[in-house]
Amino acid sequence: MELSDLSAHELALYLRQRRISAVEILESCLKRIEAVDGRPGRLDGGPLTVEDEQKVHSFITLTPERARAQAEAVDRKIAAGEDPGPLAGVPFTVKDIFCVEGTPSTAASRILANFTAPYTATPVARMEAAGAVMLGKVNLDEFTYGSSNESSAFQPSPRNPWKLDRVPGGSSGGSTASVAAGEAPLSIGTDTAGSIRQPAAFCGVVGMKPTYGRVSRYGLIAFASSLDCPGPVARNVTDAALMMNTIAGADPHDSTAANVPVPDYLAALEQGIKGLRIGLSPDYFRITYPNLQNGTFETQPLPAEIEASVRRAADLLAAMGAEIVEGVPMPNTRFGIPAYFVISRVEAASNLHRFDGVKYGYRTPEPMNDLRAMYRQSRGQGFGAQPKLRILMGMYVSAAQYSEQYYNRALRVRTLIRQDFDRAFDPQGPYRLNALLTPTTPTTAFKMAALYGDSVLMQYADQLTVPANHAGVPGVSLPAGLDGEGLPIGIQLLGPDYREDVLLRIGRAYEEATETDPWRRVRPQALL
């Protein structure tokens, strides 16, 4: 086993014990990247070669010099007997939607390809302050708009390490691919409708969307500001907890970052789950979507393997002392996607206004005499298809004459979805749940190019994850076995506000219960 395959908490421990150095860890990760990642995504990336199809392509920008300087600083601190921080020497990757001072911060878009950030996002700054070593910026869907990473303007886009003809999911696909491939034990992603949990499920890693406001958004290039949550991607629950300890908490730069005390997520991790009430909802075992021909809703059951993995998890947790509550109604789940379509696009269109060719980023090279024409050309050439779709729809549904029937209605739906969770988690209510156990995704990773372009169907892939974004509650996706094709299956735990600690505890218990499962020994294709 190589250092790059060890978990973050093991690396941090061995480093403190001076059994390994930060530079050694870094070298191991860089070696792994060299071996499996292939060429980084870039603008006008050209046609895919056969070799490209055998590589992961997590990165847009690798920053080995910066990483080496950080690793050497950690080693110096240790040599000097100073406290190097709880994540000292642990490499991590950063979804390229976060600003990091002095590095290109592209949002995987042509319009920001030349933008170098002059400041560092709070979660990244906290990781570095804790001694973690940033390896670079990883790929994503353009401006996070997608579920496969294929919409990135930086090609080749990431591939799923488990099966290289599959997508890694998205939009935090570069994050989950880099962690699954052992390029780094940790990554920072963002989750607006499932953008951490869905790729985590697809790539067989742990991905947590914290409570809205638990982790600062400062420095995160906004998609839908009222839904965006930065969160950890890791290979196990303990590492996710370790990372939460570092990135969670109030921030003077983000007034929506909650001023709620941060618990020690590691402290309660091994306490077991005796007496916890864990719910199952029929509304999370099917996908409901509108028939665009006649306007009715149609329902599809989930694949049996996926439902079975959730049922098995429930049985295992019950055996460990949890109380399983069946039949919890979450009736507004099916409205999550339509409401998300409206809210996210209104916010996205507004958030994209600043990319106008005036101050930074792409400006059309053609000389322009007219300001309007300069805007049109710069934005027309700089944005890819996905941002353009979101601008069009966002502008449409927020127009004065439509906002009542779309935007305001979507906000009311959002309140209803929140009420579903309030009822399920109400300590005085009929269900009194500590967590809801669900599948993360309706399918395992789909083939590259299979869904891209069919925006609606791709978005319905988020139906089981987006309600937590509407409601603001925390959720975590855990690897829960492999399907018949050898692709990872994810299960999801959703909990009340600020109870990430409980979700992580349940997740850790589930890890223990499945520790000897054969699938836990299977290595992803990219590492064979």
Binding site: C99, A107, K359, S398, A399
Partner: protein
């Protein structure tokens, strides 16, 4: 038809820069007057990717003071919204503003219109309603030079209150009076420098006309880019006359946006606005609502001052001051505070204090460029000085010269009188001796006086006073001279 058969309907839209230390959503310095372009900027106010606004509470507090002074209803919960439009001086492509649930709703100002600004020469009061009062961020500035467009972001994020009146004003003079009173109020409350030339206070005027007696509103024009109260008055005046001419000629009034050209004193039609009509307002998700709970509100309003118009009325009522005096003494809060403190310390006739203030102290303030709280001659010392005069210890001219001496030395009037021996000499023999001296030295004048030139008496008194460096009691000196010249 003549002008008198029409009335103007005027509403004013003001943008008020609040004089906070830092900007509304970041910690950059708010005041960039005379600073180089783009020297007070940061990632937040330049709208870099990923930044978030953090509300400066001082802006809310100043907004609450203004809303209270305008009799607005402060909302316990108000929200920020995004006003979306593209312009190079707006780095985020949206302005953080307030839309339907702003800081305050309603309100009014009872505007006294003096006789001098009244069409029929009679003073009256016009109630001006407030239809909008909200907080927002200022935008930057652009300019064209050498075929290029330049942007200065220094002003981005300076806190603004946008305050809009109902269509309640009827003359250009009323509009000017409103702005004068607003400027006075803003300075009184200490919430804005309110300098129109510097853009601290900006005003757009909506103007329409109608026949007297009509109640509907006709299409209005909007006058922009006026940078002094006098220019607002002149521009509105011009526009009213233009509209009457158009209507009299049988033409329609179109909803133009007009720009005031100060040098030519004419209104010009502006290029149509480069912004979208639909601003697609929605709640700003990056900011929490403003929760003005009772504790915060109470803390903000603790020590809320008596307002200038109230104080003006009270000065007339309580101290029997003429309107003229009350107006001047309440033009500025510190001066009016000074007046009241001096009146209290003095205990005598308030009008006497007023006279000294308006004649002497104001001149001293102007000459030295100071405000009433900055001079060494504190209200108690002015009172002391007046008492010294009242008691006959010093005469008026000594009193007047003492003002400067107190200010320069920092010593109290009584101490100076003591130190410099300025007390009036009422010793008859000393004055008689000097009077004899004066007469002996000026035989020609004595001759003339005796020849019937009575007016020379004043000159003789003056000579005695001069020799005694003003310390003589002039009444006694006159008495002596009259005796000696008999």
């Amino acid at each position: 038809m003549t002008m008198t058969e029409y009335e103007a309907v005027i509403g004013l839209e003001t943008h008020i820069q609040l004089n906070t230390q830092t900007k509304i959503f970041c910690s950059c310095k708010a005041d960039s007057w005379n600073d180089a372009p783009n020297s007070n900027i940061c990632p937040v106010c330049c709208g870099l990717p990923g930044v978030l606004p953090v509300l400066n509470k001082a802006a809310v507090e100043k907004g609450v003071l203004l809303a209270t002074a305008m009799h607005g209803q402060i909302r316990p919960l108000s929200f920020f919204d995004r006003k979306n439009y593209f312009y190079p001086d707006l780095p985020k492509g949206y302005q953080i503003s307030q839309f339907d649930q702003s800081l305050s709703s309603g309100g009014y100002l009872d505007l006294p219109v003096p006789a001098s600004a009244s069409p029929d020469g009679q003073a009256y009061v016009r109630r001006v309603s407030i239809t909008k009062l909200h907080l927002e961020e200022d935008a930057g500035k652009t300019k064209n030079a050498g075929g290029q467009r330049f942007v200065d972001f220094n002003r981005c994020g300076v806190p603004l209150v946008e305050m809009v009146t109902g269509p309640d004003l009827r003359t250009a003079d009323e509009a000017a009076q409103y702005l004068t009173r607003l400027r006075q109020l803003l300075r009184w409350l200490g919430i804005s420098e309110a300098d129109m030339e510097r853009g601290n206070l900006r005003c757009d005027a909506n103007v329409s006309i109608r026949r007297k007696g009509e109640t509907h509103l006709n299409p209005k024009t909007e006058i922009k880019n006026v940078n002094s109260i006098e220019n607002v008055r002149a521009a509105i005046e011009h526009e009213i006359e233009r509209q009457i001419r158009e209507v009299e000629a049988g033409n329609r009034i179109f909803a133009w946006t007009l720009e005031w050209d100060e040098d030519a004193a004419v209104l010009r039609k502006m290029r149509s606005k480069e912004t979208e009509a639909d601003y697609r307002y929605f709640r700003e998700p990056d900011l929490l609502p403003i929760r003005l709970d009772d504790a915060w509100k109470t803390a903000i309003l603790a020590g809320f001052p008596e307002l200038p118009l109230e104080r003006r009325a009270r000065f007339i009522r309580e101290y029997g001051l003429p309107e003229y005096d009350a107006e001047i003494l309440t033009a500025e809060r510190k001066l009016s505070d000074y007046f009241e403190a001096a009146v209290r310390a003095y205990g005598g006739d308030p009008k006497r204090v007023s006279n000294w203030l308006m004649n002497d102290i104001l001149r001293m303030l102007n000459d030295r460029g100071l405000t009433a709280d900055q001079i060494k001659l504190a209200p108690a010392w002015l009172a002391e000085l007046l008492k010294l005069i009242d008691s006959g210890t010093i005469n008026i001219s000594t009193g007047k010269s003492l003002l400067q001496k107190v200010e320069e030395s920092g010593l109290s009037p009584a101490a100076l009188v003591e130190k410099e021996g300025l007390a009036k000499v009422s010793d008859d023999t000393a004055i008689r001796a000097v009077a004899q001296e004066v007469l002996a030295e000026n035989p020609k004048e004595v001759e003339a006086f005796k020849g019937g030139k009575d007016t020379l008496m004043g000159w003789f008194v003056g000579q005695v006073m001069r020799k005694m460096r003003g310390k003589a009691d002039p009444n006694i000196a006159r008495q002596m001279l009259e005796e000696l010249l008999k």
